[in-house]
């Protein structure tokens, strides 16, 4: 099967452009080949039409009917545990790490550098020991 993700009712998407960038929205209706009606209950994004080029489809789905009301959608979204599933996914983890890294202070960056050095030193030491043992 070539495709696993489709533009369909209940598809959870990531906005990748504009002021809503980085927030999750759910497809509520499809306008045409280029645009869909979306709403982001957790991100506080009101129902609006958005171009598909500005969305990235995720694996997640919310079980809703076409044109589900905002209240119904919010309940279904919470019940499906979308935010938790997103946070657990590697894609979600990658984004959260990226934003965490971008928000580090100068001292935090120094601490990360020290931690990285400590880690690689420990690894190097262990590798050396194992090499010696194997030889």
């Amino acid at each position: 099967m070539p495709y696993a993700r489709f533009v369909q009712i209940g598809r959870v998407c990531l906005v990748n452009y504009g002021p809503m960038r980085g927030s999750l929205v759910v497809v509520v209706n499809v306008v045409d080949h280029n645009r869909v009606l979306v709403e982001g209950p957790a991100a506080g994004i009101s129902r609006q039409v958005i171009r598909l080029t500005r969305l990235s489809l995720t694996d997640l789905m919310v079980p809703i009917q076409l044109g589900a009301r905002p209240g119904t959608l919010a309940k279904a979204y919470a019940k499906a545990g979308i935010d938790e599933a997103w946070a657990a996914s590697s894609w979600g983890k990658k984004l959260s790490t990226r934003s965490k890294r971008a928000n580090l202070s100068d001292y935090d960056r120094f601490k990360v550098m020290v931690a990285r050095k400590t880690k690689s030193r420990a690894i190097g030491k262990e590798v050396k020991r194992l090499k010696k043992a194997a030889a």
Binding site: A102, N103, D106, F110, K111, V114
Partner: protein, 210 residues
């Protein structure tokens, strides 16, 4: 209630302004009780020529400099210019001249207590508690250098080796002691202050958070 018309109000105001006399009470029985005196005595003569008086300059009024919010006492700063550039130092306070008072501390990274311009530092969000450091005696005069007498031939070698005054060494030690006690509370703070700031690949200074 009918309010006064505009004409009436203008007249009333003019009457108030043109009152040029004051009645003063005068003591003594035979003095009539009070006397009317003109408010201001005008000049007795007029200058024949129109002498222009210079308008007071609005420049050179010393206003205390307003520092940006990130420059708080105790903030770790990155110096951007001068011989200590790229070093991380602790801000002790600001001086009336608008310059910042910083120190390395000297024992950690070799930056003595010195004044720096706020434009040449990056303020980081890291704050060291400097409430235990007494900086009340340090003002601009403390850092002012004595001018060499002009016209006197100064031996270059001798001037280059000008020693640091004893009292300044003692002051630096006192400030360092108080500050280092605070810095020791965080085990990574000392290596952080002794390290230099650099940009690495993919780091854009305008996008970094400090």
């Amino acid at each position: 209630m009918v309010s006064a018309t505009r004409d009436q109000r203008v007249k009333r105001k003019a009457a108030q302004e043109t009152t040029t006399t004051i009645t003063k009470k005068i003591g003594g029985d035979k003095n009539g009780g009070e006397r009317t005196i003109t408010k201001t005595v005008g000049s007795k003569w007029y200058n024949a020529d129109n002498v222009k008086t210079p308008v007071a300059s609005r420049k050179h009024v010393h206003k205390p400099r307003k520092l940006r919010a990130s420059l708080k006492p105790g903030a770790v700063l990155i110096l951007l210019s001068g011989r200590h550039r790229a070093k991380r130092v602790v801000m002790l306070g600001s001086l009336p001249s608008g310059l910042l008072l910083v120190t390395g501390p000297y024992a950690i990274n070799g930056v003595p207590m010195r004044r720096v311009d706020a434009a040449y530092v990056i303020a980081t969000s890291t704050i060291v508690d400097v409430s235990g450091v007494d900086v009340s005696k340090y003002d601009d005069a403390y850092f002012k250098r004595t001018k060499k007498p002009s016209g006197v031939d100064v031996d270059m070698e001798e001037s280059a080796k000008r020693p640091v005054p004893e009292h300044k060494i003692a002051d630096q030690k006192a400030v360092d002691a108080a500050l280092i006690a605070e810095i020791k509370k965080d085990s990574l703070l000392k290596p952080y202050l002794s390290s230099l700031f650099t940009l690495t690949d993919g780091q854009a200074p305008h996008e970094l958070k400090f």
